[in-house]
């Protein structure tokens, strides 16, 4: 029974947005945690730790997100650890986000001039205190625009969760297309919804960037 693409379908699509946002939020938490660890590892003065961080980043940035999603969803099941689509998607997105956020945050830490480290050291502050009171607060300001920019990427990447059957916006779009046979209207609406979500963030990131570099 084919039905026409009506407002009810648009509402279904909008409600599926919830899951897109949920995936993004969960990946932020997971990815944020991993990213912080990776950034600190790569900044460490112990060579093996720094190497570990670098290898993780290279590995994750050099493989498609789909491989992680499928690998964790199907691969772990074979091992005897069945995971549901939500867990696999969140895990894959977290691993992925962790590498990119780690890179952004490491860059921000590295951007703080050596003289700030020296000033802190000369006052008798240890490495931990220097990082916590002097370096990290300044790095936070620098890191914010690219972090917000990456958030946009993350929202778009949640669309890949549809490929393992998780019902977020894109998956809902596929279902609606099957029911209404109106792929053009449906996918245009889906794209528009992503746009509404992403564009404000993109603009905000740009504004933050301008304020950061225009302020001086």
């Amino acid at each position: 029974m084919i039905r026409s693409f009506a407002w009810i379908d648009v509402l279904f699509l909008v409600s599926a947005l919830r899951w897109t946002l949920a995936l993004t939020a969960a990946a932020c938490v997971g990815g944020g945690l991993i990213g912080a660890i990776v950034a600190l590892l790569r900044f460490s003065r112990l060579a093996p730790l720094a190497l570990l961080g670098a290898m993780y980043t290279q590995l994750v940035q050099g493989t498609p997100l789909l491989v992680w999603i499928f690998g964790l969803y199907f691969g772990l099941a074979i091992f005897g650890f069945p995971v549901d689509a939500w867990t696999a998607a969140v895990a894959a997105l977290s691993v992925y986000a962790g590498a990119f956020l780690g890179e952004i945050w490491r860059g921000a830490l590295a951007a703080i001039p050596k003289t700030q480290w020296e000033a802190g050291a000369s006052l008798g502050l240890g490495f931990g205190h220097q990082l916590r009171y002097v370096i990290a607060p300044q790095a936070l300001r620098i890191a914010t625009p690219p972090t917000v920019g990456f958030l946009v990427q993350l929202i778009k990447d949640t669309s890949l969760a549809s490929t393992i059957g998780f019902v977020e916006l894109t998956r809902e779009g596929q279902t609606t297309t099957a029911a209404t046979f109106q792929p053009f209207a449906v996918y245009l609406t889906v794209a528009a919804l992503y746009f509404v979500l992403c564009f404000p963030l993109t603009e905000w990131s740009r504004r933050l960037e301008r304020r950061l570099h225009g302020a001086r």
Binding site: T63, V67, W68, G71, I78, K156, Y194, C198
Partner: protein, 220 residues
């Protein structure tokens, strides 16, 4: 119940893997080449065009950059036939990739051109060089040098992103993975092998581009 790794089953399919690699590379290269052309046109429109053209370029860039590639792909492959444009899967894939890369390339090219300080152009004009000469001798090489790293990393991202075309049944490397998986049921091994192959390609790209950069733009 213990699990025994059987990579051999997967690796036995190496001819299919090679085919998949070839398709993936072809997609990435054509996507990049086409996308770069679009990017140059887009940047020119954005910087030098009349107001309506500039707005169009901005709208294009923002529309692409704020929507997922997968959705763009579905729109082109499933949606366009509804309005009369019917494309084969490979053609739809390449077209989508070109349009997608084009938006990012527009921004990269624009940034590269804008990075040349006005004072450089003024110096060129003051020395009596014509517009074209200024562009060729003063703008082009520094702009290319500026753009190169961003374009190189865009290529690597593209190479990995081509994996989505498998969902409109284009037989790229990721699609090959599904085929092998359905035949051998060795999920873990399949995706590990595919991951390693992609990683190898990505690292090769990074290394290759770094070398190219040094050869083309290195210090004398």
């Amino acid at each position: 119940m213990t699990y025994h790794f059987q990579f051999r089953d997967v690796l036995a399919y190496w001819p299919s893997l090679l085919d998949g690699i070839a398709i993936t590379l072809m997609l990435a290269v054509s996507g990049m080449a086409g996308g770069l052309l679009v990017g140059i046109v887009g940047a020119a429109a954005r910087l030098y065009g009349p107001r309506p053209l500039r707005l169009l370029a901005v709208a294009y860039v923002e529309a692409i950059r704020n929507t997922p590639l997968l959705v763009q792909l579905f729109l082109v492959f499933f949606g366009l036939p509804q309005v009369g444009v019917r494309l084969d899967a490979p053609v739809a894939a390449i077209a989508t990739l070109i349009v997608n890369v084009g938006a990012y390339a527009t921004e990269i090219v624009r940034a590269g051109l804008q990075a040349i300080p006005r004072t450089q152009l003024e110096a060129g004009h003051a020395l009596g060089l014509s517009g074209i000469q200024v562009f060729r001798h003063i703008v082009l090489v520094p702009a290319l040098r500026m753009m190169f790293p961003a374009l190189a990393s865009q290529f690597t991202l593209l190479l990995l992103a081509t994996s989505v075309v498998s969902f409109i049944s284009v037989e790229d490397l990721f699609h090959t993975a599904s085929i092998i998986e359905s035949r051998t049921f060795r999920d873990f091994e399949v995706y590990t092998v595919i991951g390693v192959v992609y990683l190898a390609m990505a690292l090769a790209c990074r290394g290759g581009f770094a070398l190219l950069y040094r050869l083309a733009f290195g210090r004398r």
